[in-house]
């Protein structure tokens, strides 16, 4: 099948198919991708070093800003790590509020992703509809926290804002609307030929590869592997909330869409249960500034999959070492596997299929493909070009 020559095509950091900057180098033989080399780091901000220079309280704000979409997942992971080091338990009401915020975030993140996936396959009508409905969640966030994206709900020892009784009917009304819409979209995804033709059998990741390459989250669950931190290693109030882990056996992009759509419906059920079962009481406990010596591994199921933080304290007000591994980095080896042997035209949708969040990850690299080798510019060349202007 070889056409004789292999062409290297750079893809990103600036590319219309990527909503965030990252660089991949593809080697293509005709229309077939034969090699993928990721080159991360375009967005590298040195956050782990920054953690060591700030106090535990300041670091809450830093953790919130690791990512613009799953900001709550990072602070949940951070605050529960520090709570464990301090040997403090957040109050029961705070644990329920964390679940509600986490699940609202999952809906808004997955809805954002469904829109992007639709956009990548040229189905912009669906993209517009889903994003319109996603506004419902953002409005609810604004009502609860005052912010649409960086809710700043978590703090060490609990949460910063309560969900008052007056808010509950409004949240439930929003959920009813979303449930109706999401059921409609689930039907669209399963029946619309535009989607099926572009996603079924595309970007295949076999269960064995998914395990060996340590894939996480919806990407792993769409390869039929039942694995979810919320169920396997419960945190916040997930040990008290009924949870149904969604899996699909298709191993392709279509399965990844289905897993996320059904997870949104599952999240709605969880929020309803948590709103009704939320115990009364205080929402935070006061904690000391100094954290005793120790180390901890903290895990959260972020919208994109398993998020893991490792913290080591040294008895002062600043951590000795703080490590963050976001789910996108965990999915990059699996992504490279999915892209191999596929068509160039499918690169955007397969790439979008893992729901990459490069801001979270950055620590990662991709290879770009355009028409010609000469098109590969180094950062220095780019900088020089723009410095002149």
């Amino acid at each position: 099948m070889s056409h004789g020559s292999i062409i290297k095509v750079p893809f990103g950091p600036q590319h219309p198919a990527l909503k965030e900057p990252e660089n991949f180098l593809f080697e293509v033989d005709g229309e077939i991708v034969v090699d993928v080399k990721p080159r991360l780091g375009y967005n590298h901000r040195g956050i782990e070093k920054a953690f060591e220079l700030r106090t535990y309280i300041q670091n809450i704000y830093l953790a919130e800003r690791i990512c613009g979409i799953c900001s709550d997942a990072h602070t949940t992971c951070y605050t529960q790590a520090i709570e464990e080091l301090l040997n403090v338990e957040p109050p029961p009401r705070a644990r329920y509020i964390r679940v509600i915020i986490a699940e609202l975030e999952r809906i808004h993140s997955h809805a954002l992703w469904v829109g992007i996936a639709a956009h990548e396959i040229g189905f912009d009508t669906l993209f517009m509809y889903v994003w319109r409905d996603r506004e419902t969640v953002l409005d609810l966030f604004e009502m609860i926290s005052g912010n649409r994206i960086h809710y700043a709900m978590n703090t060490i020892g609990g949460v910063r804002r309560d969900i008052h009784a007056a808010m509950v009917p409004k949240i439930k009304k929003g959920l009813d609307f979303l449930e109706d819409r999401l059921e409609y979209y689930l039907n669209v995804v399963q029946t619309e030929q535009t989607i099926l033709k572009r996603t079924a059998g595309v970007g295949v990741l076999k269960p064995k590869d998914a395990v060996n390459l340590c894939a996480v989250g919806p990407t792993l669950r769409a390869s039929g592997i039942k694995n979810d931190v919320r169920e396997d290693d419960p945190y916040a109030a997930y040990d008290e909330v009924p949870l149904n882990v969604i899996t699909h056996e298709g191993c392709d992009v279509l399965s990844r869409i289905l897993v996320r759509c059904e997870e949104m419906l599952e999240s709605i059920k969880i929020i309803r249960y948590a709103l009704d079962g939320m115990p009364e009481g205080i929402i935070r406990v006061r904690v000391p500034m100094k954290v005793p010596e120790g180390e901890v591994v903290s895990r959260v199921e972020a919208p994109r999959g398993e998020l893991i933080h490792y913290a080591k304290s040294n008895g002062t007000t600043k951590p000795e070492r703080y490590k963050v591994r976001s789910p996108t980095l965990g999915n990059i080896p699996a992504l490279c596997k999915m892209l191999l042997g596929g068509y160039v035209a499918d690169i955007p949708i397969v790439l979008a299929g893992i729901d990459p969040c490069f801001a979270c990850m950055d620590r990662m690299a991709f290879v770009d493909i355009k028409k010609n080798k000469e098109w590969i510019w180094t950062m220095q060349q780019l900088r020089r070009k723009y410095a002149k202007k």
Binding site: E295, P333, D362
Partner: protein, 162 residues
């Protein structure tokens, strides 16, 4: 805690004196300290026999004279086992585990980039995160590099280019 204890007992029987220290701080968390030379056999045993098939990440910690490398493995997504070992800063070489867990490929590169641990046998240790022109031998997460110091180093380089 039964499963955790069972895992620890099996690991003790297998590694014997190569297992330096074990703690189970709470449910579903195990920390083990192994000798550097036992890394490969320990990993192979953990992954193949004890079914710790998922590697969540690899953390490097600067301890002063040594660098600690921590492998965070999980059993059925549930029990987290953090296997750690220390390598000297002067000679920070340890064998790669990519042939045991292919998913380790980027995590090893990350630790190499930021802390300078050399994973022998890794297929490609080229920079993953740091820019191409990053000064050689400068590993930003090592404690001897203050932020000010790093900024000076990189801004100088920027000056040269312009």
């Amino acid at each position: 805690m039964e499963k955790e204890n069972e895992i620890v007992e099996k690991l003790k029987d297998f590694l014997k004196e190569n297992l330096v220290n074990v703690t189970i701080p709470k449910k579903r968390r195990i920390f083990v300290y192994i000798k550097k030379d036992a890394l490969e056999e320990a990993m192979e045993y953990l992954v193949k026999d004890l079914k710790f098939k998922h590697l969540s990440t690899i953390t490097g910690v600067d301890l002063g004279k040594e660098i600690e490398v921590i492998y965070h493995l999980s059993y059925k997504g549930s029990i987290m086992l953090s296997a750690r070992l220390a390598v000297s800063k002067k000679n920070p070489n340890i064998p790669t585990i990519t042939y045991i867990i292919p998913g380790a490929i980027l995590y090893e590169r990350e630790v190499h980039d930021l802390l300078g641990v050399k994973f022998e046998g890794h297929p490609d240790l080229s920079p993953l995160i740091l820019p191409e022109k990053w000064p050689k031998g400068v590993y930003p997460l090592r404690k001897e590099h203050q932020l000010k110091h790093l900024k000076e180093m990189t801004s100088e380089k920027r000056g040269e280019r312009n």
